[in-house]
């Protein structure tokens, strides 16, 4: 009996023991970089670091350096936000071509020869990266509700007020992502801060998506800081105006209904907000361009602390010539052996003596044929020298791979040209005709850029010269390689069809027409399979 009692005791203690072990299954983070959410937000500066995370997704691909990514199915570097935007807005056009084609950097070949299908990792990367932006924004909004803040003991009124600004900024960043998706894909799935994790959003398309972004931005405008009053690295009202002016200028493409007056209003808001053209055009594209007075918002890159394979790292390294080997000497980078070159039709935008002194013309042509007969041969075609990882005073950037150069998402010069275009279109100019109806304000804006480029007024244009066809070319000259070209060509009716062809358009050496459905990109099959609410774009 005693033994049985003893056994019973042993059995019970075993039960207690196993029960305590069962609790061991509830593991918790032990690493100093890994936190339960509540522990994370209990730290000093947590909200600032969380909003830095929402901003950071524009620059960084992951949390452990440039090779890490929140996304899979696409190379970390290739899924960087500005790089995806850049590939899809620039490589599909007359402005640039990438040497390492085909399987070398999958997806690039199909984009730059305009023969894409949905099965393209860059489309997967772009859509996922932008939707992660949405998810991060929503998460920030969820984590900063008044209830959450008070439950965590955040009572300091100044801090609560600042978090209020963060919340508005998070919403603006969500709108940026949806704006890019509207432009590139024509639609997206809507996910709000009220939706749970792993929720499948409903498709929102065209006018509905346009209206959603417009409404959101107009609603948060009062909650954003006044233009130029926020800390560097954060956005303000001008950021919202910038997206709105882009939406309105392209409204006819997105919704069929023009909104040029609204566009002019928004451009005027920006123009009147105190931004100044940087006296030297090229200083906007150098390692210290974060100090440029012209930039409304830029996607950060830092050779030490914000390392990424984003658009500026790609361009600074990619523009280094294979023959010239001019990376270190000119741009402070090692270079990628002639990855990027120019197509003939872009080069021709600078034809003529009138551009001999134009600082925007950075084309290097010596010893190179203008035509690219074989995309893989880096010695064919001219190259560009617009971007640099050296500072305005010529000092090399901190790192010879990862540049210090920020990517100017919105800069003042763009809005001068947008104002002029909206005005002309509002006043009756249409694609393809030669109406020259720029008013004096518009002409003044255009010539501000000309004077800056030429360091004098000898290159200025007159009203009679300013047609829409002039404007699209002027936009190319001013804004090439800044991620606008595809959108501009579509708005001007020159992207699809055969109105305007360029080398390798439609996979022909001299270019051929491409179908109209190519105005929007298709979704990657995985994107749709993971959320069947999303319907593939027509024609794909």
């Amino acid at each position: 009996m005693k033994k049985i009692k003893l056994n019973l005791f042993m059995f019970l203690s075993l039960l207690v023991f196993t029960q305590s072990c069962t609790n061991d299954l509830n593991v918790v983070p032990e690493d100093d970089d890994d936190f339960l959410s509540e522990d994370f937000f209990a730290q000093p500066n947590a909200y600032k670091r969380a909003i830095a995370g929402v901003y950071g997704n524009l620059s960084l691909t992951g949390t452990t350096g440039p090779g890490s990514s929140l996304l899979q199915g696409i190379d970390a570097g290739t899924s960087q936000y500005s790089r995806c935007v850049w590939y899809m807005q620039e490589l599909a056009t007359d402005e640039a071509i990438w040497s390492y084609e085909g399987s070398g950097d999958p997806g690039v070949r199909e984009i730059q020869r305009n023969i894409w299908s949905g099965d393209n990792p860059i489309f997967l990367g772009m859509y996922s990266r932008a939707m992660v932006q949405v998810a991060l924004s929503n998460e920030f909004i969820r984590q900063t509700t008044p209830e959450k803040l008070s439950s965590r003991g955040v009572t300091n009124a100044t801090e609560i007020a600042e978090i209020g600004f963060y919340r508005a900024e998070a919403k603006a960043l969500k709108c940026l992502a949806y704006y890019h998706l509207l432009d590139l894909f024509g639609k997206a799935t809507l996910v709000t801060e009220n939706d749970p994790i792993n929720f499948r959003g409903q498709q929102i398309e065209g006018t509905a998506l346009f209206n959603y972004i417009e409404t959101e931005l107009l609603a948060i405008l009062p909650s954003l800081k006044a233009a130029k009053t926020n800390e560097s690295g954060r956005l303000d009202k001008a950021f919202a105006w910038a997206i709105l002016s882009k939406l309105y200028l392209n409204a006819e493409v997105y919704t069929g209904t023009p909104k040029y007056t609204e566009c002019m209003t928004m451009c005027s808001n920006i123009i009147g907000a105190g931004y100044q053209l940087e006296p030297n055009y090229l200083d906007n594209f150098k390692a210290d361009n974060d100090t440029s007075t012209e930039l409304i918002f830029a996607i950060q890159s830092d050779g030490i602390k914000t390392q990424n394979y984003g658009a500026t790292t790609v361009m600074c390294n990619g523009q280094v010539g294979s023959i010239e080997g001019n990376g270190q000497a000119l741009y402070g980078v090692n270079g990628w052996g002639g990855a990027l070159r120019l197509r003939k039709q872009f080069v021709q935008k600078f034809d003529g003596a009138s551009f001999d002194f134009d600082s925007r013309k950075t084309i290097i042509s010596a010893g190179r044929p203008i035509d690219i007969a074989n995309v893989a041969i880096q010695a064919q075609g001219y190259i560009l020298g617009k971007w640099s990882n050296r500072t305005s005073t010529g000092l090399a950037g901190q790192n010879s791979t990862f540049v210090d150069t920020d990517f100017p998402l919105f800069r003042l010069a763009d809005f001068y040209l947008m104002y002029a275009e909206a005005q002309m279109r509002k006043d009756g100019a249409t694609n393809g005709n030669s109406t020259a109806n720029a008013n004096s304000t518009s002409l003044g804006y255009i010539n501000l850029l000309r004077e800056r480029a030429n360091d004098g007024n000898f290159g200025n244009v007159t009203t009679g010269q300013v047609t829409l066809n002039f404007l699209i070319d002027e936009r190319a000259r001013e804004l090439h390689w800044e991620g606008h070209r595809r959108q501009d060509l579509i708005r001007f009716g020159k992207f699809t069809g055969g109105n305007y062809v360029w080398a390798w358009k439609g996979n022909a050496t001299n270019g051929v027409s491409i179908p109209a459905n190519f105005k929007v990109y298709p979704f990657h099959p995985n994107t749709i399979l993971a959320n069947p609410n999303l319907i593939q774009n027509p024609g794909y």
């Binding site: 918790v28 959003g201 030490i304």
Partner: protein
């Protein structure tokens, strides 16, 4: 408990009465060797109808006997005895075990053992005498090619790990590695800093036997970790007599084959013809870079094992070993010292048995960077050394246009001297590891059928690795043309703790034998790491030095098993395990894993009189096993934030902040594999031919799949989900034969042959039509493998190459398979897969007097490799990789295709090649002096060749690669071995 006790008491009390009857023979049957009672022995009166069998204590009683009756005692695995009844009342019979290997073999089944003859699941045991001979540095190589359904693929690096697959694995995305258990301690497949492999710490000389559990009825006792099979490694134990076993082995290895690239003269010619602008960059040397980076290697292995009985009470074994193996790559070596101690005392008349296994290993490694790629492509006209070079006297491309204060600037974007990279990189690791277990096995005094076993396991590895590259090296860290050098240090600790507690109840009730086991298992894995980063980097991230602590992994299990044996002929095993894993959220945490198997010794019923069939057992099994190993996905169900490291920051107001990013959230549960197995164990002609034949079908469901998630609500686009299913069906044949058994001439010839065929098929990966994977060199993110419903996992997904009328491939010419007039990614198709159609293993062992000669070989048919070396490199454009700065070499196969550019040659089906092969793993010839030193000792000498030859049509360096994509590999060496083995 109480009632059982009463019943038992009743049974004991009634026993004595039964022996009082007249004409009754009673007695006890014992094992002649151990004098232990034998239960279940058949006691039959010849020519009469009366029979009985012995009880659990070996006792029997047989009534109605007449004087002169012949009573036969028979028992499987024992020689029968016959006595004549002459009125005696009691008798004591000793049965001797028949000399039959098959039936003596003990199979580890996890938390216990069974005799091979009683095993109901698909299991294979390999004892020390069956192990592969030759230079086996890691334990898994002992069984390579020897067991049907088990494949081992080891890289060429010394001490390196292997890809082990049992029946092809059961997972698509989660781990496919089998569970490896050393003396009851499941070890983690985690290789830590400073070490080459998680199995490299175990000295193969200490291994006594390896049991492989293949089907779920056998593995289910390991529940959540058993889907990929289980390998149970048992180390040697002490003995009663003092014995010493010393082994010395020396090997000398060399490179077998190089990738065929242009020689210097031919290279000069091709450059002159095709890239005249590069001619000025050429040198005057004639260098075979692939031979320069490799060397002849030494291998020295010493192992001393002492067995004995300490204080006449504690059987003990001590093994001390050292293995030194040089890698082919210059500077690469592996140096392992091990001490292993096994104690097995038993007390209280064997009621209390204690087993202690303690292993210590010290690994010292020098790692060498993988320079195969640069050796292939480096200009053969350049010299290895250059007296004028400031880079340690090695030739490097220098840019005299740019000078810095100290040294010439290096030309950017060109290859670096691979010999210099090897010789100037000092990358060393040390790994100290202690592992072992302490087992207490207590047989209750008042109820000896019941045993309690507690097994405590412990495994801790501490490793460190340091890497320095001097400032005069071209591959050292540099920035903005200033070489800073590399100086990194990392330290890692991995701990694995185990507690198993179970009881075992074994009793016979008449013809029914019952063996019950039930218990509890707790295991915890912890890992942390410390990194200094490159301290020479002035821009080193602020997070360094960085300590990283991995989330713990905790596994809990409750398990039970019941073996029912009826009349020693019909065997039924039921097993059940319930497992919890910290990898899953509370609502998904627990999984149940049942199994059942049945075996019927057919020959006992049907072929008892048949002379040629000595054994025939049918096994039928079913079981469900689990998978929880999702790698680094350790607790995705928790709401967490991680912060950016030193280079992942965002500037606000001029201050850089580590970004705070919410982690991807998952809601996953167990992956489950259901296995059906039917098999025969056979023995013919007095077991001169033995073996087994198995057919199996496995279905893995709720696959732990890292698959796309709906965008916008999670913080990633891909997360682990339970998606889809896939099946494997296969046949396995094992055959051992004593071809010649001639005691008279002393000539014996034994062979082992095994054959495996299996077919894996994805039943569904819904909702995804296909998932691409298998990145290749030469293209960022380019994939050539695909997972698609209805096809074998990892089928090749490539373009269909077009050929001209002469049969030559057209560069960039692909079939427009979907007929839309455009060649794009939609035109890729599924073309073959990486799986072999048939795997064969063959081992032969001939003894003639004191000579022995053995070899083993393996063959694989129908497996295919994607030759990425050619697809990436065999194009002329690769000869001009960096403008006019330097020329580079390419494989001569470029002359076959005449392809100019990598554009679209990368993923052509042209590079999917049949990689069937036959490999002679080793050939050994030995001579034994059995009575050396006046019979006090035995001496065995042997010599052999390891990796003797490979027969294949595959055009790459070696057909045997992992993963189906042949990038540059660390080549396997061929070595000549000498071995001395002394025993006394």
């Amino acid at each position: 408990m109480k009632t059982i006790y009463k019943k038992l008491l009743f049974l004991f009390l009634t026993l004595p009465f039964s022996v009082l009857a007249q004409n009754t023979l009673s007695g006890v049957v014992l094992d002649s060797k151990s004098n232990q009672p034998l239960p279940g022995v058949n006691v039959v009166v010849q020519g009469a109808n009366s029979s009985t069998s012995t009880d659990f204590d070996g006792k029997f009683k047989l009534g109605g006997l007449k004087s002169g009756d012949k009573v036969v005692f028979s028992f499987i695995g024992y020689n029968s005895e016959t006595i004549t009844f002459s009125g005696q009342n009691t008798v004591s019979i000793s049965l001797t075990e028949s000399a039959n290997q098959l039936q003596e073999v003990v199979v580890q089944v996890g938390y216990g053992t069974v005799k091979k003859k009683d095993a109901t699941g698909s299991t294979t045991v390999l004892a020390a005498k069956d192990f592969n001979k030759g230079a086996n540095v890691t334990t898994e190589n002992l069984l390579n090619g020897r067991i049907a359904g088990v494949s081992v693929n080891t890289s060429g690096a010394p001490g390196s790990g292997s890809e082990i697959r049992i029946r092809g694995g059961a997972s698509l995305n989660a781990s496919n590695d089998p569970l490896i258990v050393i003396d009851g301690l499941p070890i983690a497949n985690t290789t830590i800093a400073g070490s080459t492999s998680f199995l490299a710490s175990l000295n193969p000389n200490t291994v006594e036997s390896i049991t492989v559990l293949k089907d779920a009825s056998a593995t289910a006792i390991y529940g959540s970790r058993a889907s990929n099979g289980v390998i149970l490694i048992t180390t040697k134990k002490g003995g009663k007599k003092l014995s010493v076993d010393y082994n010395f082995q020396y090997g000398s290895g060399k490179l077998v084959k190089t990738v065929d690239v242009f020689g210097a003269d031919q290279f000069r010619q091709v450059i002159t013809d095709k890239f005249p602008s590069l001619v000025p960059t050429l040198g005057n040397s004639n260098t075979n870079w692939q031979e320069e980076i490799y060397r002849r290697t030494d291998f020295v292995d010493n192992s001393l094992s002492i067995k004995g009985n300490l204080f006449n009470a504690i059987p003990a074994r001590l093994t001390i070993g050292n293995t030194y193996q040089e890698g082919l790559r210059l500077t690469n070596d592996f140096n392992r010292s091990t001490v292993s101690l096994a104690l097995a005392p038993s007390m209280f008349k064997d009621h209390l048995k204690i087993k202690v296994n303690a292993n210590y290993s010290n690994e010292k490694n020098r790692f060498a960077p993988g320079v195969e790629g640069s050796a292939l492509s480096f200009d053969p006209t350049q010299p290895v050394y250059d007296a004028s070079s400031q880079f340690g006297g090695f030739f490097e491309y220098r840019n005299t246009a740019v000078t810095t204060t100290t040294v010439d600037a290096l030309t950017p974007n060109v290859a670096r001297n691979p010999v210099a990279e090897l010789l100037q990189t000092n990358d060393r690791g040390i790994n100290n590891r202690i592992f072992g277990n302490f087992e207490v096995d207590y047989k209750l005094h008042f109820l000896p059928e019941l045993r309690f076993v507690v097994n405590l396991g412990f495994d801790q590895a501490k490793g460190e690795r340091s890497k320095t590259v001097p400032r005069n090296s071209a591959v050292a860290f540099s920035n903005n043309n200033i070489i800073y050098g590399t100086n990194e240090f990392a330290e890692e600790t991995f701990t694995n703790k185990l507690l198993d507690a179970y009881f075992n109840y074994n009793k016979a009730f008449g013809k029914l034998n019952l063996d019950l086991t039930a218990g509890y298992s707790y295991q915890k894995f912890e890992k942390d790491r410390f990194d200094t980063g490159n301290v020479n980097n002035p821009q080193l991230g602020a997070n360094f030095p960085e300590t990283t602590i991995d989330p713990d992994i905790v596994l809990l299990g409750y398990f039970g098993r019941a073996n029912f044996t009826y009349n020693s002929k019909y065997l039924l095993t039921l097993a059940f395990r319930r497992d919890g894993s910290s990898r899953f959220a509370e609502n998904n945490r627990w999984g149940n894993f049942p199994a059942a198997s049945f075996a019927w010794k057919i020959n006992e019923d049907l072929f008892k009189e048949n002379k040629s069939i000595s054994d025939l057992k049918l096994r039928v099994g079913w079981g469900v096993t689990g998978q929880q190993d999702t790698g680094d996905e350790r607790y995705g169900y928790l709401e967490r934030y991680v912060q950016g490291d030193g280079v992942s920051q965002y500037f606000i107001g001029g201050t850089a902040y580590s970004v705070g990013i919410p982690t991807a959230r998952t809601a996953i549960k167990w992956e489950e594999t259901t296995t059906y197995n039917i098999g025969f164990d056979y023995g013919f002609f007095k077991n001169r031919i033995t073996g087994s034949l198995d057919a199996f079908y496995k279905l893995s469901e709720d696959l732990l799949f890292n698959a796309p998630t709906a965008d916008g609500s999670n913080f990633t686009n891909t997360s682990f989900q339970n998606i889809g299913s896939f099946s494997t069906r296969g046949l396995e044949l094992n055959l051992n034969a004593a071809v010649v058994e001639n005691e008279g001439t002393g000539f014996n010839w034994n062979i082992n042959f095994n054959a495996t065929t299996f077919q894996r098929k994805i039943e569904e990966v819904d909702p995804f039509t296909r998932i691409e994977r298998g990145g290749i060199d030469g293209g960022t993110g380019a994939n050539v493998l695909v997972l698609q419903s209805g096809f074998t996992p990892d089928s090749f997904y490539v373009y269909k190459q077009l050929y001209d009328s002469a049969g030559n491939p057209i560069e960039g010419g692909y079939a427009d398979l979907n007929g839309d007039g455009i060649i794009n990614t939609d035109d890729r198709y599924i073309y073959n897969n990486t799986d072999p159609d048939l795997l064969l293993g063959f081992a032969s062992n001939i003894n003639y007097k004191n000579f022995d000669f053995s070899f083993n070989m393996r063959a694989s048919f129908g497996n295919r490799n994607f030759n990425n070396v050619n697809s990436n490199r065999a194009v002329f454009a690769r000869m001009q990789p960096s403008g006019t700065l330097a020329a580079a070499n390419v494989p001569v196969s470029v002359l076959d295709t005449n392809f100019e550019n990598t554009t679209n040659t990368l993923t052509s089906d042209l590079y999917v090649e049949n990689a069937s092969f036959l490999r002679m793993d080793n050939i050994t010839l030995g001579y034994t002096f059995p009575k050396w030193l006046e019979g006090k000792a035995s001496l065995r000498l042997f010599t052999g060749v390891q990796n003797a030859f490979v027969i294949t049509d595959y055009s790459g360096l070696d057909p045997e690669i992992t993963g189906g994509i042949d990038r540059t590999i660390y080549p396997r060496q061929r070595s000549i071995l000498f071995r001395v083995n002394v025993k006394f």
